[in-house]
């Protein structure tokens, strides 16, 4: 550092050329040989990027093939420390896990990013919503790909969440001590379906309009809270104050429903889902990591129940 400063001031002042080895020619007090040596040093350093200050400042620990640094690589990284440092050797078996929980999370992440990009082009108003989709499809660079990825990613996520639940059931992973995390998982399943459903209306086309009309018409029939449901009239329900009205912000699927669907879809439900996901992942760790493949228990080993 001191050397560099000297050189800099030397350059500015045009005097004082004491730096360097003194053998080379000096131009305005700069030693070209010394600069060359420095440049070579820097180029050599590029070959070992993990030794640079920049790298060390970002990753904190050096990475080499020792158990210690493999452990630190996971534990000292904010994203990776969701994992334990070590796991059971069988827990990485794909035939056991199916990987569907992780894939669901990855798809959620993809949907968040494609969704944010779509939001740049979308206005949740009756005048513009449908035109924005046309604009996306025909004028925005890669707009069509963006919308396609968002839609197919959403469909895929519904499937992977179902499969994740299927696997967790078939391996009995909801059993003690993971009962509560199963409950969180069911809530996340419902949120996934609601996210997908609220997104369906947003293009403001016939498909979404009638799907949401069919879907929200059922709310009319809610017992006690819907105006066509059992005991609804007794509770003073009309088309203008029942639970369907609250969902749509009106008695028909119109501009208020579009705005509500948009806010639920882009802000509220993703927020809830993210919160529950934090709990879900946290509890996976706290409940002892992934459930198996666990050693099998035999019938005669069942302990008498203590209450």
């Amino acid at each position: 550092m001191a050397e560099k400063t000297t050189k800099k001031t030397g350059q500015e002042a045009g005097t004082n050329g004491t730096a360097g080895n003194g053998n080379g020619k000096r131009l305005l007090g700069i030693d070209p040989e010394a600069i060359k040596a420095k440049a070579i040093e820097d180029l050599e350093a590029i070959k070992q990027p993990t030794k640079t200050d920049l790298y060390k400042s970002i990753f904190r620990v050096k990475h080499d093939e020792t158990p210690r640094s493999r452990t630190l690589g996971v534990l000292s990284n904010v994203f990776l420390h969701l994992h334990p440092a070590k796991i059971n050797r069988d827990a990485v078996a794909y035939n056991y896990t199916w990987g569907m929980g992780g894939i669901s999370f990855y798809l959620f992440w993809v949907l968040t990013w494609t969704g944010v990009l779509l939001m740049f082009y979308y206005h949740p108003t009756k005048v513009q919503a449908f035109r924005d989709i046309l604009y996306l499809e025909h004028d925005v660079p890669f707009g069509k790909l963006l919308r396609n990825m968002h839609r197919w990613g959403a469909h895929a996520m519904v499937l992977t969440v179902w499969l994740h639940m299927y696997r967790v059931f078939l391996t009995g992973s909801y059993k003690k001590p993971r009962q509560f995390n199963w409950m969180v998982g069911v809530i996340l399943l419902v949120l996934t379906l609601l996210l997908s459903f609220t997104g369906y209306l947003l293009p403001d086309d016939q498909l979404g309009f009638w799907a949401v009309t069919v879907g929200t018409n059922m709310a009319r029939a809610t017992p006690m809270l819907g105006h066509e449901g059992p005991f609804g009239l007794m509770f003073g329900m009309t088309a203008y104050n029942d639970v369907r009205f609250a969902l749509l912000g009106g008695s028909i699927v119109d501009s208020n429903a579009l705005l509500r669907a948009y806010i639920w879809h882009c802000v509220a439900i993703p927020g809830f889902a993210a919160t529950f996901m934090i709990v879900h992942f946290w509890r996976v760790r706290k409940d002892g990591g992934i459930s198996g493949p666990a050693p099998m228990m035999l019938e005669k080993e069942i302990k008498p129940l203590r209450r």
Binding site: Y96, Y106, N148, A156, L170, K175, L189, Q206, L207, A211
Partner: protein
Amino acid sequence: MDWHQLWTILSLPDNVPIIGLMIVIPFYTWYAFRQAFANDRLIEQLEADPEMAKTHHRKTQPFLKGWAREVHVWPYLLRIEFLAAIIVTAILMVWSITLDAPLEEPANPTLTMNPSKAPWYFLGLQEMLVYFDPWIAGVVMPTLIIVGLIAIPYIDTNPLGNGYYTYKQRRFAIWTYLSGFIILWCVMVVIGTLIRGPGWMWFWPGQTWDHNKLVFEVNRDLHEIIGITDPLIYGIFGFLVVAGFVVLTGFAVHKLLTMTEFNRKILDRMTLLQYLTMQLLLITMVGLPAKMAARLLFRIKYVWVTPWFNV
């Protein structure tokens, strides 16, 4: 055989996930049961040989003395996650490049789509609307599905099969889940997507979706078939029929539960509250196919008619 109609339905972009569903669900069911049966064979061996049970590591995955029991997450898990992310991205990219998301005409409240369908994952519920009034199919049933799913860990008192695939040790639980998930949910979704056409009428695969098709529904309420006309009496009569169904189904479920020695042992571990919750959920679950059978075989519309609601 109208192949063009079949192709029109199957190739509808929003129906592609259903095609995926019809492939991945059977595949993963096979995949799980293959491991369950392998585990069950090992369980039988262990039960027959107590010495082996003492020393065996009790998994079908190989394990030799001297092997580390644990592996580092970096790289053994992270590389799998990374690979999975790349594969999913690639599949999603190809899917998105080759198939466009649907966009119909602008929303038009004056022009009803026929058939107008909910998103595919809710079509099981929409299919239920054929057999039940909306307050049951659209409100009570979904609520019970969510509550029932949440209740599973709290009513399943079988401690076996925690963290490994098995069929032998959890027959009742697995049959219940399979009938709920595959028959009552996935098959209903497939029916709702591929079979139901204009007017929500039944069209077999390959049958032309005829918008002018007329079906003369001859559904009648149960009390009409019997010939009761007084509202008070058929109200009470309907209640008795439903109550009878609840009692009979509950009895049948109980019989099924106490059929084997093992199940009786598990039942002993249940509290009364756990048992009643399970009965309520199972009876409701059986209620759906029961009403479907009543409708499809005997053309019964409602079983229980009251001034406030109909079942």
